[in-house]
Symmetry: C2
Subunit: 321 residues, 2 copies
Amino acid sequence: MAVYTEVADDELESFVAGYDIGDVLSIKGIAEGVENSNYLLHTRAGYFILTLYERRVNEADLPFFLGLLEHLSGHGVTCPQPVNNRKGRALGRLAGKPAVIVTFLDGVSARRPDARHCGMVGEALGKLHKAGAAFPLARENTLSINGWPALFRSAEARADDVLPGLAVTIAEEISRLQNAWPKGLPAGIIHADLFPDNVFFLAGKLSGLIDFYFACNDFLAYDLAICLNAWCFEPDASFNITKGMALINGYARERPLVDMEIAALPTLARGAALRFLLTRLVDWLNRQEGALVKPKDPIEYLKKLRFHQQAESARDYGLLR
Amino acid sequence: MAVYTEVADDELESFVAGYDIGDVLSIKGIAEGVENSNYLLHTRAGYFILTLYERRVNEADLPFFLGLLEHLSGHGVTCPQPVNNRKGRALGRLAGKPAVIVTFLDGVSARRPDARHCGMVGEALGKLHKAGAAFPLARENTLSINGWPALFRSAEARADDVLPGLAVTIAEEISRLQNAWPKGLPAGIIHADLFPDNVFFLAGKLSGLIDFYFACNDFLAYDLAICLNAWCFEPDASFNITKGMALINGYARERPLVDMEIAALPTLARGAALRFLLTRLVDWLNRQEGALVKPKDPIEYLKKLRFHQQAESARDYGLLR
């Protein structure tokens, strides 16, 4: 949940007057996104999301994110679409911060995803990867294998406070993945954070994808590995192979996996689990008592990592070949 | 800002199916209200606010609050109107909490209210008091003069940590007000928290009032005194008599003040300042480091109290007689 900036009504009105969307009827801060302030904006033209970019987002990345949303919208992916102002620009400034207005997307996140949801997410991910192919901008994935050592160093000294032995486990895993990490897999634009919160469903169908602020260029199958972690484990951290099969098959219907990707899947899944273990660990160690935003439990991802460590092939994730 | 409870999509869908408002299209937690969890709910029938009552609200008070909103809506006050479910009841249960759906109100709060806003608020307050006259339920004002000693006791020991001498100032003020508090003024339903956040404007007109969760029975002029505190001071804590005049005149156009109320106005304004000084002081002393909900500065209300202490008559607030 996040609303870090209060926007004055007169400032808001003059900002919105720069767009062709009619007068402001209502604005409500919404509890979505932890990196930005988000508001639901009602104008004569309808409902929109107004986002103010707070300091955790690098301004230099905004043309990539906004361009990507526009590109994907134009290529059949239902995602928030930036609204251009009268000067033809998506990026403006409000309350001293970079600000954009995007279209409002209906839909509800699945709190307890089942195999049908997983199948639809796999399919949407495959479509997203195909739609991203022609996108001309690029952004490095700072949270992939090259970024893990630095993340780990910032948490290493206190990692064992969370669980004894955690520091050694992570150090060994990083070193193993550095040796085993695949090379030359098909790469392109990935969402990199396609968790259930970021996928909307409506009347039993997937209705849209949101929150592209981790999107970047990386191996496409790594995005699938992130989804295996995010969608296919049960609350007790056991892997549900029916969900895994649905996710992978859904994906492959849109974009068949090549042999190299299939072979690399267990390694990519380990890497994805480690990535969320690391960022959650850092957030956990830097949490503030009483803060409304509860950091997510890093140990959930240690348990997922343990599963991946014993997986031998893509068959362990439900792939039937 | 507040969303304390996560609502599962399937639970939400079956809850909403109990109403005649169509399928759920979207739900977003909104940063409004500190006592409850609030969500903007989009269904086939339109936009609504879904409120889950958290533990700070006394369940026994809910029939009063919901009945009042319904009563006021039916008597010309634009405020959120509870939506009855198919069983004809406004109060339901969701995620283990009492829950209601109310109509969505357009409008934007004035962050920097001017005298015109004050005039419109005064008028709306007068209308509210007239509309509340026939409401059959009652609720004691636990935050008025009888409640202050207990509030003070909970903060007394650490009050001087906030400002040296504060404990004595408050003790003296309570004792003075206990002697001077008026008796027998016109009484009825008051809003009791009509701050700028709780008043919406649209196209230069007042468009609605929200957040009736402090509403209760008390002297009507005490509500006006609360508004003098909430609307007519400048950021530097100086009283703006033009705004005061606009507020009082706006009110009197709807409901002329009687002589006793005019005579009591400085005392009521002192009481109102003390009430917010006390509750803010308690919240301040119990604040949690790093919490997203920043407690409001109690000293702002000490400064307002100082102004009221030197006021001699209603003329000091802009009343011209």
